[in-house]
Amino acid sequence: MRDLAIRRWWRRDRSPLPPGETVAAASARLERARGRLLATGVLFLLCFGALIVRTLDVAVIGAPVGITGAGGVSALNPAARADIVDRNGVLLASNLPTHALYVEPGKIFDREDAIAALGRVFPDLDLERVASLIASDRKTALLRHNLTPEQAHAINRLGNPGLWLERQEQRFYPQGRLFAHVVGFTDVDNRGLAGVEKAVDAELRQRAEAQQGPLALSLDIRVQHVLAEALTETMTAHRALGAAGMVMDVETGELLALVSLPSFDPKGPDRSSAEQLFNRATLGTYELGSTFKPFTVAMALDRGIAGIEDSYDATQPIRVSRHLIRDHRPENRWLTVPEILIHSSNIAAARLAVEVGAERQKSFLDAFGMFDRIPFELSERGWPIVPRRWSEHTTMTVGFGHGLAVTPLHLIASYAALVNGGMAVTPTLLKQEPGAHLVQNRVISAETSAIMRMLLYTVVAEGTGKKAAVPGYLVGGKTGTAEKAIGGQYKRDSMITNFVGVFPIDRPRYAVLALMDEPKGTEETFGFATAGWTAAPVAGAVIERIAPLLGIPAAIERDESEEAPSIVWESAEGGRHASL
C-alpha cells in the first residue's frame, strides 16, 4: 500500500483514485498489470533470443559454400566405374563424360524453329520422330544419348529453354576389338554385360567409390597384339571359321593374352553376330586331339606304369567294336614312349591309356581340373563335355584326345602344370604381385614334369611341332588335330587344329596356345591343314616376337655354365629317346 502511494508520488500522479476504489484495490490491480507485463516481456525475450540464435547460426556458422553454391556451377560426379588397365598400366576401358539431350515440349515456343535447329546440330536425326515428340503432351523426353562435346556446345548455344542436357558417363574402349572378348562391354547404364566387365562388375563399382584407382589385369597389350595379329594372319590364309589363342605364365597362371576370333566392336555389340560374340578360348569346348597325348604319357610315367624306354605296338590299327583307331601318318612299327609323342601315334597312345586304366585316367584328368568349369574372372566359361559311360573305348579315345571336350583354357592351364614342376595352376586375369603364391596342388612329381619338358622339346625339335621352333629359343610343345563331331559324325575335312608351346622349355616361363577352327589347306602348306601347318607356326611366330619383350634371353647367349640340355640321342635300335 505504501508502495502504491510512493509510485503515485513518483509519477507526480495527482489524479484521485477512481471513485469507489480503495488504495488496496488499486494496488491489487497494479499487481495484475505487472504480472502481465512480465509475461509479455518474457515472451518477447524468447522471440528475440530465437532471432539472435538464428541470426548467429546463419551469419557465423552458416551453410558451407559448396561447389554447387559458387557461381551457379554444378558439381562433376566422379566416375561411377573404375578404369581397367593392362599389367603395364595401358588403358583398356575408361569412363568418359558425355551428355544426354532431353526435350521439354511444354517449354518450346517455336516448334518449327526448334526442329530445324536440332536438324542442323544432328544431321542424322529422325526429324519426324522429334516433331511427334514435341507435339506430344509428355513432360520430358530423351532425344539422344552420348552427345559429343561439339554437339553439347551447339545445343547450349541454341539457348532453347525446352532443350536441356544431362551429364552422363559412357564406357569407352580405346583398344577396340583387340580386347573385346576379355574386357567385355557394358550397357548404357554402365552395367557389365560380358567379359571382365560382367565378372567383376561389383568390384569395379566399389573401386570407383573408394577411389582405389584402376583395376590392373594380367594381360599385356603388346603380347595381346602379337597374338591377335598372328592368329588373324593364319586364320585369313587358311580361311578358318575362327581362331583362339592364349599366353599364360606357367607359374602364376596369369594370362598375358587371350584372343578369340572373329572379334567384335565393344562399342556396338548388338551389331555383332553370335559367332563374333562367342569366346572360343574359354567358352567353346572342343575335342582337342593329340594335345591330350602328353597327359596319357604323363599319367603312365608318373604312376609308374610305363618307363621312358618301353615300347608300344603301333603296327596296325586297333578295332574296338565298330570303331577303328588309326594313325594319321602310320609308322607301322613298335614305338617308344617319346616316339608316341614325336609321331603322334593314336594307336600307341590308346594302348598306353588302356594300360593305365580307366580309373587312374579319370582321377588323373580330374586332378588337372578337366571335368569342372574353371573358376576364372570371366562369366563366359564352358563346362567340359564328359562322356557319361567310361568304357574301354572311351579310355582309348581320351588317351589321344577324343571323346572328352574341354575349353582351350583347360588345356593351357593343364600344360602349365605339366611343365612347371607339377603344380596345378588356377588361371587368372588379374595381375598378381611378383612372387605371389597362389594355392597350388601337386598333380605330378617334379621328375615327371622334367621328363615331360624334354618330351615336349623333342616334339618341336624332331616331330610334328617343327614349325613352332624359334631360332635362339628352346621351345617345347605338342600339336593336336581333331576332326569335328558334327551331328554325331566325325567329319574328315572339318578340323580343330591346336598347338600348345612352352618356352623356354628348360626353365618354363610361358605357355602359348593357338587354335584354328576348320582351317583349309593352302598352296604354301601343300594342301595340309593339320596342326603342324596351321597352329604350330602361329605359336612359333608369337614366341619369336614376345620372348624378347618379356625379358627372356635367347638360349644362345645364356651363361656358359648353364648349358642347354642335350635331350635326344640315337638309341642302338635306331629309335630316338629322351635322356634326363
Binding site: L91, L178, A547, G551
Partner: protein, 105 residues
C-alpha cells in the same frame, strides 16, 4: 564503476561483432575460392581422363604398327639381335607410364 563496465562491455561486444562479420566475410571468400579450385581440379582430372583415353586410342599397337610400316625402314628384331646386361633379363618389363597418373594422385 558499474557504468564503465557496461560501456566497456558494449564496446567489446560491438567490436567483436564487427570482427566476426569481417572474418565471416573472409571465410566466405576463401570458401568460394576453394570451391572454384576444387571444381577446377575436377575439370582437370576429367580432362586427364579424356586425354588418357585419347592417348591410349592413338597408341593402339595396330595403329603404331601400320604407321611404323609406312614411315620407318625398320624390320622386326630377331632374338639374336637382343643383348641383355647381366641380371637384366628378369621378365615382363614395365615400359609404359600412365600419363597424368601423378597429377591425378
Amino acid at each position: 564503476m558499474m557504468r564503465h563496465l557496461v560501456l566497456i562491455s558494449i564496446a567489446a561486444f560491438v567490436l567483436s561483432m564487427l570482427a566476426l562479420f569481417l572474418v565471416k566475410h573472409e571465410v566466405r571468400g576463401l570458401e568460394r575460392e576453394l570451391a572454384a579450385l576444387e571444381l577446377d581440379r575436377q575439370r582437370h582430372v576429367e580432362a586427364i581422363r579424356v586425354l588418357r583415353s585419347e592417348w591410349s586410342y592413338l597408341t593402339r599397337p595396330a595403329r603404331i604398327a601400320s604407321l611404323a610400316a609406312r614411315h620407318l625402314p625398320l624390320e622386326q628384331v630377331q632374338p639374336a639381335q637382343v643383348r641383355w646386361l647381366p641380371g637384366q633379363a628378369t621378365g615382363p618389363s614395365a615400359l609404359v607410364t600412365p600419363i597424368g597418373g601423378e597429377l591425378e594422385r
